[in-house]
């Protein structure tokens, strides 16, 4: 017996059917074709599947799809508003903060959650907040620069 789940994804009312043991990640990718949310481990250790669930940063691989009933979900596909990309997305591009790019959606979702909570994070706060997002290409250097620069930009400063 599949479960009928009603939810909002990136602001849009979205319904889907799923088995009780499906993860939100599987439903986003395989049912809703929102493949911007990536799977790196399915054990909550890499952060590639980071999404916002009712305004909370979570790993979609560790959320059961039925739990999304009545909840709102934000994925990487919802970060850019129409033609305008988010400051974080722009800064990741300007700072060359991605190499292969597989971890990038997760980093942008997680960094956005950080800046919404803390508009002026220190380098250390940023590194700890993002410790759940693995990147194997960059050594994190340019990612941290991009996030701190985006924060400054959002504060109206120029670094």
């Amino acid at each position: 017996m599949k479960i009928h789940v009603h939810t909002r994804v990136n602001g849009e009312a979205t319904e889907f059917l799923c088995a009780a043991d499906r993860s939100l990640l599987e439903v986003l990718r395989d049912e809703l074709a929102l493949t911007g949310t990536k799977e790196g481990c399915s054990t909550g250790d890499c952060g590639a599947c980071s999404v916002m669930l009712d305004g909370r940063l979570v790993c979609a691989c560790l959320v059961l799809a039925p739990e999304a009933e009545g909840r709102s979900i934000e994925t990487i596909e919802g970060v850019a508003k129409g033609a305008d990309i988010h400051v974080l997305q722009r800064k990741f591009l300007e700072h060359a903060a991605l190499q292969c790019g597989i971890c990038t959606p997760g980093f942008i979702i997680a960094a956005k959650a950080l800046l919404e909570r803390n508009p002026d994070p220190s380098e250390e706060e940023t590194r700890y907040w993002l410790a759940g997002n693995l990147c194997r290409c960059t050594g994190y250097d340019k990612i941290i620069h991009a996030v701190l620069d985006a924060a400054a930009d959002l504060r109206g400063e120029t670094r």
Partner: protein, 758 residues
């Protein structure tokens, strides 16, 4: 078109930092990676893997799996043709097609825990998993070989009874786990050591470590009624996947088309095939598309780590710091099939130094662990670890600055490398000087803090590349190549095309084509893309320019020779300027039809003249003497890039290599239980560095042009992972006052060393 004298060339676009062309898709989630493709009627594949590290497969009963509703195909070793032993060109490292075929699907024996023994395609992933559980495999469990010492023991179980050691005598007679033994060297070792005032000897062991790319291997295969297969997969080499899969399945190359998806990291680990041939065979059997995505656990258990090693190095030097002799013995784990990177280790181990008297012995050993795959400068980092810790100790004993000792012995143009040939123009000395004059090198250190220096070398590769450059009607350009973009190569290739054509890099669209849309191209590896494929792009762009000049000559009705190309315009070389206004690329493109049709430039080459890369790294650490915890405080990497086409991505390669090297030095390792099962097959316990583990990583790009490349480019991707193991180890040894003999330098191991020392 005359090439400006090397080094004096002024670049307009090369060396700038434009936003990569594929960037927007990757920050918005639109970019499609291996697992992001789906097709109507698609089945889900799942692989059944051996729960034993060493076992004879007596029989496999798949009937219960086939009986399960939703199961459409099951394959085992019996469904594959026998593939004869044959050296596999086009991949990385020493591959053998016979071994490769047995690695993707076990036949008579399962040779490591996680070795594929069967695969299923079903309508859902859950059904495929359930079907795997219902496959009955009759194993005769054999004693596994889990360490180099066990493998070499006289009574060791033998992995491959009918294999014999190759290489240089003396070799074991009869069956053994020695795949090969080789010797390299020259001069008089005994005399060299006799001439030494100081001799230092070190003995190190390093564990298997994984490339750790974040994207698990994924493949989607579709086979038509005509038996032709189309394969979407995340690989470093679509042409390699085509060739290797065809070989393993006994198909002709033209039966397989490979469409490379975006690739989520590889570092060498995606330079061979695992699931690709399985998905193709399942799709042939089921007559429906099959998607096969590895779990993270499968990636760790069944895809290429790099070798665990045991390395001994002995070096001698005179009082004034001249190296007189060097000897190395290297034992490298190949995993279940021959072909560790020990050869490269033999050639790189002493490569940075002038040495008249050298002896290097390299052993390639098989044991019941996953077959190793290439990993960033394969074989070199572990060898450099030992040599560079020895150099550090020599400097200490001689009372010399560690960089000065290296400067005293550093190789340069014209010096004969320890592995044979003479070096062309190289930038090793320049990296040492830049490191020595860097503020980091003079910065004060606090209590329990230490600084380490280490150097590294990597050959870099050339190999085959094809490129097409076509001009659009409006004068913009499309650059088509066959190398998956693993770290910004689209941008650097576009920059080179823009430089030649004289148009803004934004007007150049770089495209990664499939195996039927571009000429043969070797894989994205060996730090070759910007060098070799870049060379092809430059040549193709120059082909375009030649055609553009001809079109202008036609329009002006003058000789081709009197038309030059400068800054995106054709100009008439004549005493009477202004007779003909210069024609822009856009103008010429607009008149293409009337001057002979579309303008398309082509190049296909086997790039010669790859320039060796050298690096010098400085690392500061702090040690907690009560817990053995190590904190990396500061890190500076200096490297000769020849010419940095897109400096941001050169820096990125350097920073990424350093981060991987730090993980290798401090925490990463394969932990096996007594039966050969990996105990830490996940990101929680296979400890790759997280953001809070690392400091900012400073980079200094040195540019000593490679004389063999039109822009002076050298590969940069691999060299950065060579020095960090030693840089970190040297720093820790100074901070803690201990001598290390094993990686990783994990807290328990370091605390033990500290307690022993005090």
């Amino acid at each position: 078109m005359s090439e400006k004298p090397r080094g004096e060339r002024k670049f307009k676009y090369v060396g700038t930092r434009p936003i990569r062309h594929d960037g927007l898709d990757k920050v918005t989630g639109r970019a499609q990676f291996g697992a992001d493709y789906a097709l109507p009627g698609m089945l889900w594949g799942k692989v059944l893997r051996s729960p034993h590290a060493h076992a004879r497969i007596r029989g496999i009963d798949v009937s219960a799996a086939l009986a399960l509703d939703g199961v459409k195909a099951v394959i085992t070793g019996r469904d594959f043709p026998d593939v004869a032993s044959e050296a596999a060109e086009g991949g990385e490292g020493a591959n053998d097609f016979g071994d490769l075929a047995m690695n993707v699907m076990a036949r008579e024996k399962a040779l490591y825990h996680g070795h594929a023994v069967a695969a299923v395609a079903a309508t859902t992933a859950r059904i495929a998993e359930e079907a795997c559980k219902r496959i009955v495999v009759d194993y005769e469990v054999l004693k596994p070989v889990l360490s180099l010492d066990e493998a070499l023991a006289p009574d060791a179980p033998i992995l491959h009874e009918d294999a014999r050691a190759t290489g240089h005598e003396p070799l074991p007679k009869g069956p053994s786990n020695v795949a090969s033994r080789r010797e390299l060297g020259r001069g008089d070792l005994a005399k060299g050591f006799a001439d030494a005032d100081v001799i230092v000897e070190r003995d190190f062991r390093t564990p298997m470590v994984h490339q750790g790319y974040i994207e698990p291997h994924a493949v989607l295969a579709r086979t038509g009624q005509d038996g032709r297969s189309v394969v979407w997969c995340c690989t470093q080499g679509p042409f390699m996947v085509r060739a290797f899969s065809a070989k393993v399945l006994g198909l002709s190359t033209d039966m397989i088309k490979v469409i490379p998806t975006e690739i989520g990291g590889g570092f060498g680990g995606k330079t061979t095939v695992y699931g690709e041939p399985l998905a193709i065979l399942l799709s042939r059997k089921a007559g429906r598309p099959v998607k096969l995505v590895m779990s993270r656990e499968e990636v760790f258990r069944a895809t290429g780590p790099t070798s665990g090693t045991h390395i001994r190095v002995k070096m001698g030097a005179t009082r004034d710091g001249k190296l007189t002799a060097a000897e190395a013995t290297l034992y490298y784990e190949a995993g279940a099939f021959k072909g560790s990177p020990v050869n490269a280790a033999m050639m790189t181990v002493f490569a940075p130094y002038k040495l008249a008297n050298v002896r290097i012995e390299g052993w390639d050993i098989v044991l019941n662990k996953p077959k190793v795959a290439a990993y960033r400068a394969p074989g070199a980092p572990m060898a450099a670890l030992v040599v560079e810790t020895v150099m550090d100790e020599l400097a200490e004993k001689l009372g010399l600055d560690p960089i000065d000792l290296r400067l005293e012995n550093a190789v340069h143009e014209g010096v004969q490398a320890t592995y044979g040939p003479k070096f062309r123009a190289i930038g090793f000395v320049e990296t040492l000087r830049a490191a020595k004059s860097h503020p980091h090198y003079k910065a004060p250190l606090g209590k329990n803090q230490g600084r380490g220096v280490a150097c590294g070398f990597w050959f870099n590769a050339g190999m085959s590349s094809s490129a097409n450059v076509s001009i659009n009607e409006d004068g913009s350009a499309v650059v088509v190549t066959g190398n998956p973009d693993i770290g910004g190569s689209r941008a650097s290739l576009a920059l080179m095309a823009a430089e030649e054509l004289g148009i803004p890099v934004e007007n150049v669209r770089p495209v990664v084509a499939d195996t039927e849309a571009i000429g043969y191209t070797d894989l994205t590896g060996g730090s070759r893309v910007t060098f070799a494929t870049g060379m092809a792009v430059i040549e193709a762009a120059r082909d375009v320019i030649k055609q553009l000049r001809a079109r202008a000559a036609q329009i002006w009705s003058v000789e081709l020779g009197s038309v030059a190309w400068e800054d995106g315009h054709a100009l008439l070389l004549t005493e009477a300027p202004g007779v003909h206004e210069p024609l822009s690329l856009a103008q010429l493109a607009g008149r293409a039809a009337q001057t002979g049709g579309p303008i398309v430039g082509r190049a296909a080459l086997n790039a010669r003249g790859a320039g060796p890369g050298f690096a010098t790294h400085i690392c500061d650490v702090e040690v907690d003497r009560e817990t053995g915890a190590v904190t990396v405080l500061r890190y500076t990497a200096v490297q000769d890039a020849g010419k940095a086409i897109h400096p941001s991505y050169v820096e990125g390669q350097m920073q990424g290599g350093v981060a991987q090297g730090i993980g290798w030095a401090l925490n990463e390792e394969y932990v096996f239980d007594k039966n050969g099962a990996m105990e830490n097959a996940g990101f929680l316990d296979y400890r790759m560095p997280v953001a809070s583990d690392l400091p900012m990583i400073d980079t200094v790009i040195v540019e000593v042009p490679n004389p063999m490349h039109p822009y002076g480019v050298r590969g940069v991707g691999e060299t950065p992972i060579v020095p960090p193991l030693a840089a970190v180890a040297n720093a820790v040894q100074h901070a803690a006052g201990v001598k290390l003999a094993e990686l990783p330098i994990s807290p328990p191991r370091l605390l033990e060393a500290i307690d022993r020392a005090s």
